[in-house]
């Protein structure tokens, strides 16, 4: 079967986590509030109200532009994007069109074939519309409710060049972008709907399809994988790919065609007459960037001596990197292994973020491992007990307490020697087999000793000791 090269470009909308909205003073933190309670004449678009630019939102966007190494326009311009929709309060969205805030940047990602650069076309600022809540099914719903709490939340739109070559790379790009935004402290990835993605995807030589409405990180890879398969299947059957806009239906993991009259827009862009051009020259230099993921990764390598893979994993998320640095002083390599390999695995299994684990408890656990007080097996057991307690909403027990309560401290050398002698006395047949040269008999005897000490012996040490005792007997 012929191989089609996949070409993907992304348009990402991110909500900036400013305290107030893009063009008014309303609070952006409406998560626990009733609909339409975080509104004023400006974000409701009441006749006569006028927008005021939130300087903080511009600063946040400039941070992103700098981090993505964009060229920042000294003078950018806000425009109106005109279209009718019930949740669009003014029937236009204030956005940036032909003079965006920043252009021509790049982001390095871990691509399918090593590190690669994805070019950023542009970054611009805009306002979020309100939110429609359809009561009943979309097709036959009796009515739709509109909530303007979201109207006016500051957004940045980041557009990439078509440099991404697979759905997996798209996910990698988003992960890296999210990490960068989090490091800049301009974005809260846990807020529902804080990131929305539209993707342009084509197979080389065929028409381009736009997939809209992807609202989760996992959804991007899923939607694009579906779309690649769909387009490949069309081409294999000798059918053309039609240039169109499709919607991602998250629940079913499919994209559906959405060619309706209402989708055919002429947005009639023109400069927003109520705002002056945005001149940022005097601010740009004052904006300082914090340490970004790549820099932190390199620092982890040199400062802690961790492996490249561990450094990548640990710096891939701001909170995880902070967590690691909090526990690294116990033993940087031990901490890296236990955080990146064991802890992350247990967290992923439970669909937990790093927030679920207290770094103080984890330090204590690392102390116990480092002091050789417990075995790795016991450590994993303790880790699971802590996370299970979190899952059930209980206060987790401290690792020291768990060790004490369950007697998980490693069994001492004398105790093990005594247990070995017991087992040799009890398992005559196996001992004979060992002397007859059957090596698996040793494993059996190790297992018997482990059983007696309930796994609290170090397997390597036990193996060595058992062999010594048996060999001495000859």
């Amino acid at each position: 079967m012929e191989d089609f090269e996949t070409i993907i470009g992304l348009e990402i909308h991110c909500q900036l986590n400013t305290k107030s909205k893009m063009f008014c003073g309303c609070s952006t933190d409406f998560r626990d509030n009733e609909p339409n309670t975080h509104t004023c004449p400006i974000c409701l678009g009441l006749p006569g109200s006028m927008p005021m630019i939130n300087k903080r939102a511009v600063e946040y966007a400039l941070k992103v532009a700098k981090a993505l190494e964009c060229t920042i326009r000294e003078e950018s311009e806000f425009s109106r994007k005109n279209y009718f929709y019930p949740d669009l309060n003014k029937a236009y969205q204030i956005t940036q069109y032909d003079k965006p805030l920043a252009e021509r940047g790049k982001l390095l990602i871990d691509g399918d074939h090593g590190e690669k650069e994805v070019r950023i076309t542009r970054i611009h600022l805009e306002e979020d519309p309100g939110r429609s809540v359809h009561m009943g099914t979309t097709d036959r719903g009796k009515y739709t409710l509109v909530d303007y709490n979201r109207a006016g939340i500051p957004l940045i739109e980041i557009v990439t060049e078509p440099d991404i070559r697979s759905p997996k790379e798209a996910r990698k790009f988003l992960n890296k972008l999210r990490a960068t935004l989090e490091y800049l402290n301009v974005f809260d990835s846990e807020k529902e709907g804080s990131l929305r993605v539209d993707a342009n995807i084509s197979l080389k030589g065929s028409e381009r399809v736009e997939v809209k409405n992807i609202s989760s990180y996992k959804g991007v890879e899923k939607a694009l994988t579906f779309e690649v398969t769909r387009q490949k299947n069309l081409l294999r059957r000798g059918q053309p790919v039609i240039r169109e806009t499709r919607h991602f239906v998250e629940a079913r993991g499919v994209t559906t065609s959405s060619r309706s009259k209402e989708e055919e827009h002429d947005y009639r862009y023109f400069p927003e007459p109520d705002l002056l051009p945005l001149r940022v020259a005097s601010w740009v230099d004052a904006i300082e960037l914090p340490e970004l993921p790549d820099a932190r990764r390199e620092r982890f390598r040199t400062q802690y001596g961790v492996s490249l893979e561990h450094a990548k994993t640990l710096t891939g998320e701001l909170k995880l990197a902070d967590f690691y640095e909090h526990v690294a002083s116990v033993d940087p390599l031990l901490a890296a292994t236990w955080t990146a390999d064991y802890l992350l695995g247990e967290l992923n299994y439970r669909d937990f973020s790093i927030d679920a684990m207290s770094s103080d408890l984890f330090r204590e656990l690392l102390d116990l491992i480092k002091a050789d007080t417990i075995t790795d097996k016991s450590a994993v057991e303790i880790l699971r007990m802590i996370l299970d307690a979190v899952k059930e909403g209980r206060k987790p027990e401290r690792p020291y307490e768990i060790v004490k309560r369950l007697g998980l401290a490693k069994t001492s050398g004398d105790q093990i020697t005594a247990l070995i002698h017991d087992v040799i006395a009890e398992q005559k047949a196996a001992v004979d087999d060992y002397y007859a040269g059957k090596s698996q008999a040793l494993n059996f005897l190790v297992g018997q000793v482990m059983k007696k000490c309930r796994g609290r012996a170090d397997p390597g040490y036990l193996n060595k000791l058992l062999r010594e005792i048996l060999d001495k007997k000859v």
Binding site: L46, R268, F270
Partner: protein, 431 residues
């Protein structure tokens, strides 16, 4: 707080809403009755823009100028009639019926701030505020024989003014005499952080009648084709009066005027098509009762709610902004606009103020201008000041057929003081 009762004998239909019991406080305008054009938001008072689509809309906030007026002790006594959303030159385009010219009820009061002008001219109030996008303060001031000022763009906050064409319009004062107009303007002018286009230029001037040495530019185009010769004569005499007071008249030309009307109508209709799109029936106007899709319901609502002239201008503006036409219309209009600005910049290097007629004719008879294009042409002398953003006022300077003629005085950016002085000097001389 003091109160007054307001029960005007509104034979000219100047008001859409009157407030029978008005309270007011202390301040420079203490107890002065002020009528407010119905496109300026007033908290708790219905604000309709003379449109069916906003019937019943009660703003939850005051426009910045309303706050300023209240703080100055003014008594806001009512909301005045206008052309729907400011779109007109006669106040005939009101959903609530026309306003009559107090001097001759068979004639229009001018527009679009016709209600405000008529209320002042009929003596129903001490003064009024209007808004001027292409002449909407100066035209009715001229037709009704009062004084009206369109300030420099940015000198008065537009916050709360229901926009017709944001880049062109300003709120301004209207009064029977220059002194009152000046007092009112000193309250209105100043910076407001809520209007990003506002400029920190307060007005604290007291009119002064000494205009010796004032250089008055007289543009040839203001006395050319389309201007009633009798009106031109009255205005020429007024300029002679200014000369007799020590001013110097200097002929000049504004070549860009031939593009001005087109640039104006493309710009204002484009902005209006966007501004008025929010009136879709979801938040304003009678509730949608049909079970049609939202798209069709919006269409029905807008067709029923907007008057004919508003619909015409929305169509024009939508077309001008459409993909493929933007460059030919909206963008080109902005280029023409820059040419008008350049002309004013050039002329104002030579002269202090520009003088000419406000309107090419006296107040029309009702129905006289039935062709929209004929109507649009009558804005030719007022739109250049809006396109450039410079201040301009109209002061009564005589009559033709017993109807008043307005002398238009145009000034440099933020030099309202000079045109107010010139108007004051003229007014004192002819009084």
């Amino acid at each position: 707080m003091k109160t007054l009762s307001f029960h005007p004998d509104d034979a000219v239909h100047a008001f859409i809403t009157t407030i029978p019991h008005v309270s007011y406080g202390e301040g420079p305008l203490c107890g002065m009755t002020v009528a407010v054009k119905d496109n300026i938001s007033t908290k708790g008072i219905e604000t309709t823009c003379a449109s069916r689509i906003l019937k019943g809309y009660i703003p939850p906030y005051d426009a910045h100028v309303i706050t300023l007026l209240r703080n100055a002790g003014a008594a806001i006594v009512g909301k005045t009639n206008m052309d729907e959303f400011g779109m007109g030159t006669t106040t005939e385009n009101s959903a609530f019926g026309p306003t009559y010219n107090p001097l001759d009820h068979s004639r229009v009061p001018g527009g679009s701030s016709g209600g405000s002008a008529a209320a002042v001219a009929a003596g129903l109030v001490d003064c009024a505020i209007g808004s001027d996008t292409g002449g909407s303060i100066r035209c009715p001031a001229a037709f009704c024989g009062i004084v009206g000022l369109k300030p420099t763009y940015g000198r008065v906050s537009r916050y709360g003014l229901i926009a017709y064409a944001n880049s062109l319009e300003q709120i301004g004062p209207m009064a029977r005499d220059v002194g009152t107009l000046s007092r009112l303007f000193s309250v209105l002018a100043g910076y407001d952080r809520r209007d990003a286009t506002s400029v920190d230029k307060p007005y604290t001037h007291t009119p002064c009648a000494d205009i010796k040495g004032l250089k008055v530019g007289v543009p040839r185009e203001f006395f050319g084709e389309g201007v009633n010769p009798q009106v031109a004569d009255v205005v020429r005499q007024a300029i002679e009066t200014l000369k007799s007071l020590g001013a110097q008249a200097i002929p000049c030309t504004i070549p860009s005027m031939k593009y001005a009307l087109a640039a104006y109508y493309v710009t204002c209709t484009s902005e209006a098509s966007s501004n008025l799109a929010r009136f879709d029936g979801v938040r304003y106007g009678p509730p949608i009762t049909s079970m049609k899709s939202w798209h069709d319901a919006f269409s029905d609502q807008r067709k029923a709610g907007f008057g004919k002239e508003v619909r015409r201008r929305i169509m024009l503006g939508t077309f001008s902004l459409a993909a493929g036409y933007y460059g030919r219309y909206y963008h080109k209009a902005q280029t023409a606009r820059q040419m008008v600005r350049n002309d004013f910049d050039r002329i104002f290097k030579e002269v202090d103020v520009i003088a000419g007629p406000t309107m090419p004719d006296i107040a029309f008879k009702f129905g006289e201008k039935s062709d929209p294009l004929q109507m649009y042409l009558s804005d030719i002398l007022t739109v250049p000041a809006n396109l450039a953003g410079v201040p301009a006022l109209s002061v009564p300077c005589g009559t033709v057929d017993s109807m008043p003629v307005g002398l238009q005085l145009i000034g440099r950016y933020f030099e309202e003081e000079r045109i107010i002085d010139a108007a004051y000097a003229f007014e004192q001389e002819v009084a």
